[in-house]
Amino acid sequence: MTSPGADDRVVITGMGWVTPLGHELESVWKRLLAGESGIAPIDRFDARTFPTTFAGQVRGYDLARFVKDPAVHAGAGLNTAFALGAARQAWTQARLDDDARLDRRRIGLYLGAGEGVLDFDPYVASNLAGWDPATKRVDGRRWVEAALRLMHAEREIEQEPNMPLAHLAREFGIRGPAYNCLTACAASTQAMGEAFSIIRRGDADVMIAGGTHTMIHVLGITGFNRLTALSISKGDPTKASKPFSRNRDGFVMGEGSGMLVLERLSHAARRGATPLAEVVGYGSSADAFRITDIQPAGRGAAAAMTGALRQAGLDPAALDAKGRPGVHYISAHGTGTQENDSIETAAVKRVFGSLAPRIPMSSVKSMFGHLIAAAGSVEMITCVLAIRDRVLPPTINLHEPDPALDLDYVPNQARTADVDVCLSNSFGFGGQNDTVIIRRF
């Protein structure tokens, strides 16, 4: 076992994603740089009368392309299916199968996977079968009689949020530490941060980290519509997700998965893997404010960013050797709600002070929609690609700037940039905040 401090550099050696813009690393990246939107009318269920009728669905996805034996995963839910595809891409890019000396007890998993999709029709039918209008209660006996007849045992168990872990462990033979965290929209950034910490501490050499989630289902859209968190704009759905715009009216739901291979540098070097970027900082905090509102000064968001900067050894007030701020790109949480975008802007200013306007900050949620638990990991992949290609993905649909938001949001057009250090933010409903920083290797 490696002692912390001696050999604790961690790099990213593989990445993969399943997104509303496709399921392959390079083609999705091209579409992001072209400013394309993955948002379209919902067709997974009939949402025509819902306040929100559109989302970023994954389309044309075939799990069989990504797994050894699809029968093993036949009962898996959508979250698991997305995670398997994203992880297979990452595993392949990292060329882990080529390593004859791979010790699978030293490979772990840290996922931010969402809860599975309710098997809606049998569930609703059971509830209604048990409903007693006189008492306004569901009769347990009648409910269970219907449920035993209608529900499918495997599909029920597969809804547990740790089931993607089980499937990934099976598919890749992983035997190391395994975790799933579900801190709402912060989950996969937290997963990457904790995976990084686990390697640094010496508890594993390789961690598959990322998130997977879909909430594009009846009660998912219902829940966020009731919270009035979703955009209900009429007209062209590709224009609905408009982070940092004056007329932003909520986020747009997306779905999918992003997975990364995090690896101890010495382990990657030993097997000749190519580091794509280095993970250098992680910060986590809680707003401890209200379950429905973000702390208005951005205290929690700033604490997560500050913690990650401290660990990365970056002084937010200092210029680097090339005269740039220490961070060259921020992948914003940038949901497109009034509250998030203004408080995130305030928090970035609070952390970076007068340098904040010089740091470009965009939101790919303008194109993907919000992948909820999976958002942070797909956004981290865009950070790695931004470093690789020295280009920043845009915030599309930013045609009516909010005069109160005065940072550089990379509006509408991808932009070439001298980018070596990226910071990615994710803030969860309820006030859990996470930030991860990566650097060019």
Binding site: T49, Y123, V144, I157, L182, S285, A286, D287, T292, G431
Partner: protein
């Protein structure tokens, strides 16, 4: 660079069928009582088991665990959240901490930004009456749901904050808000392993200096039709019809074990840097000496085929012992999941045997599911709280087990004073995650 900081447990707050706090649980154990009883919350006569362990309101009134200023938010707490909030209040009281939730005017014992929170949670089922009342207002003439009506108007019958009751991270969010914990915060959702994994993560956060103390553990209630049925579907529930003897239902490691009984509950512990505890003159219950985790590679989701050789269990324990610098010979008691689910019991038994060899038969096991049921994401924290208390008291509480157990010290046994140096607590989650924590006696 100096080594990682030492981490101790300065407070425990189990919440079980006996109420909030260790005292009611410990005395129930010592008196050989079980909290398992016929389910009263709904008509469970159609389920495999009509029994569960639940927390009656006269033993735990959630309103008393919430400061007056926060009463309004209590309306959007699902049962799981109430349990976590109650456990946190008990843990904080036990640790002698002052937080915003205890006294908003006082200076908190631990600076808010140095206080973390890691609370494991499960898949929270929507309250069936509330949701169905809304659904029933949007039906077609044939009684089926009309999605068109639901989208148009039916969903308005749900309170705007409806979904916030069921997000698993809300356990930690409410607790951090009540007690003003602004440090690192996470929600681990690995079924029964959640509590152990959360406590392991808090340990690491304190070790690396990102917090001085953490509220850590887990809570869950499956005492609802959907929660109970999913456990039945997973083949984990014992058969228990009318008239069954609740004290005989769960028989861990017994040859005639038939499954478990769902419980509601969990626990929050206060983990603290040893130096912080020392500085405030607090004697801890135990040292959190080591932690390890592992995953069963053979598990495939709903199949959940754990390795019959228990390799994931032994791997997690060996990692935790190595991390603690504790030899297997120094382990004087083990607190496993001990659920009475034959398949899981078998995996635990073989995993423990791989680590402890022939000596296993003579190491007492601390078991609690026969008393408090399987509290799912809450179960690991209850076991760890009990392990810490056993170390502090140098005593093993009485053990309930109506079955016949061969080859393990896990049968019915009276309480006894015993010298305990180190105790290992393990938990195996549905899905194949395993957590192991090594606790050591305070010298």
């Amino acid at each position: 660079m100096s080594g990682p900081r030492q981490v101790v447990i300065t407070g425990v707050g189990p919440i079980t069928a006996f109420g909030a706090g260790m005292e009611p649980l410990w005395s129930a154990l010592e008196e050989g009582r079980t909290g398992i009883a016929p389910i009263a919350a709904f008509d469970a006569s159609g389920f495999r088991s009509r029994f569960a362990a639940f927390v009656p309101v006269e033993r735990f009134d959630p309103r008393n665990a919430v400061p007056k200023s926060y009463r309004k938010a209590a309306k959007v707490m699902s049962r799981d959240i109430e349990l976590a909030v109650g456990a946190a209040a008990a843990a904080i009281a036990d640790a002698g901490l002052v937080t915003r939730g205890i006294d908003p005017e006082a200076t908190p014992t631990i600076a808010p930004d140095r206080m973390g929170c890691h609370i494991g949670a499960g898949l929270i089922a929507a309250e069936v009456d509330e949701l169905t009342a809304a659904l029933a207002a949007s039906t077609n003439p044939d009684g089926s749901l009309s999605l068109a009506r639901w989208g148009e108007s039916g969903m308005q019958n749900l309170t705007p904050l409806w979904m916030l009751k069921y997000l698993p991270n809300m356990l930690a969010c409410h607790v951090t808000i009540i007690h003003d914990c602004q440090g690192p915060s996470n929600t681990i959702t690995c079924a029964e392993a959640s509590g152990g994994l959360s406590i392991g993560e808090s340990m690491r956060v304190i070790e690396r200096g990102d917090a001085d103390a953490c509220l850590s553990g887990g809570a869950e209630s499956k005492l609802n039709p959907m929660g109970l049925l999913r456990q039945q579907f997973a083949g984990r529930i014992c058969e228990a019809g009318e008239g069954a003897d609740p004290a005989r239902l769960v028989r861990p490691y017994s040859s005639d074990a038939d499954g478990t009984v769902v419980g509601e509950g969990g626990g929050i512990l206060v983990l603290e840097a040893a130096e912080t505890a020392r500085a405030r003159g607090r004697r801890p219950l135990a040292t959190v000496a080591g932690f390890g985790a592992a995953q069963a590679a053979a598990s495939d989701g709903a199949g959940v085929r754990l390795d019959p050789a228990g390799e994931e269990v032994s791997a997690a324990i060996e990692r935790a012992l190595a991390n603690a610098g504790v030899r297997a010979e120094e382990v004087d008691a083990i607190a496993p999941f001990a659920s009475g689910i034959p398949a899981v019991d078998a995996v635990e038994r073989s995993g423990l045997a791989r680590v402890f060899g022939d000596r296993l038969a003579r190491i007492p096991l601390i078991t609690v599911v026969p008393n408090v049921g399987d509290c799912a994401a809450g179960s690991g924290a209850i076991s760890i709280a009990l392990a810490a208390t056993s170390l502090a008291r140098q005593r093993l509480p009485r053990r309930l087990n109506a079955g016949a157990v061969e080859g393990l010290d896990a049968g019915a046994a009276p309480g006894r004073d015993v010298p305990l140096r180190a105790v290992v607590a393990t938990s195996v989650g549905l899905g194949g995650q395993v957590a192991a924590v090594v606790l050591r006696r305070i010298a």
